[in-house]
Symmetry: none
């Protein structure tokens, strides 16, 4: 698994790591039980502290994406990721419903809304 960090990004390093690992899972690039880079190795590769990689893995573990075992390593968790993805998309749809309602109330057209979305989507982070 290749993980990169951008120094120019204002996004915290541990967030960058978390996102990339999550994306690998969502894209099916990794599977249940796959071994992740050790927090030490990853820290060395990225030239950052062990604490920061630890922080990322700790968060991911709490969120159910990975499991860590002392002395062995960290592994992709055995859960139905597609199900989790669907659930999250469902949550997004609920929030979008509220937004759509509010847009109608404010007389924001569908095209205008799409345009806003497009701008936000293309904005680099």
């Amino acid at each position: 698994m290749n993980i990169f960090i951008s120094n120019s990004s204002k996004e915290p390093i541990y967030e960058q790591i978390k996102k990339q690992i999550k994306q690998s899972i969502y894209r099916g690039e990794v599977q249940e039980g796959d071994l992740l880079p050790s927090i030490r190795q990853l820290a060395k590769d990225l030239q950052i502290s062990v604490i920061t990689t630890k922080r990322a893995y700790e968060d991911l573990e709490r969120e159910g994406y990975i499991t860590s075992v002392v002395g062995k390593g960290s592994f992709i968790a055995g859960q139905n990721m597609e199900l989790i993805r669907e659930k999250r998309i469902q949550l997004i749809e609920e929030r979008l419903t509220e937004i759509v309602d509010e847009c109608k109330e404010l007389d924001v057209s569908l095209d205008q809304l799409k345009e806003i979305i497009e701008l936000l989507y293309k904005e680099e982070r």
Copy 2:
């Protein structure tokens, strides 16, 4: 206009001031053009710094609730609906930014997102 602050509250002083003035407006206790206490007088009454009252009034002015004139004072503004609309759209954009970020994380494409929006928009009447 009577304004109180609680120093036991964890809410910032300027927020307490802002809320009370907004509520007076919403409740119709004050009308367009009404004079507010001067930032100095209010600061003295509440035994806080002028900067803090200034901060509250400054925010309220930016949000369109009041207007301030040097040498004269601060007044309740006429509620400008277009301004309020702009403000609400801005809030929507902030929420959309979060959603877009999450979509990227979940590998949901711009087109897919647009499609979801379109369905939701046309769905409800």
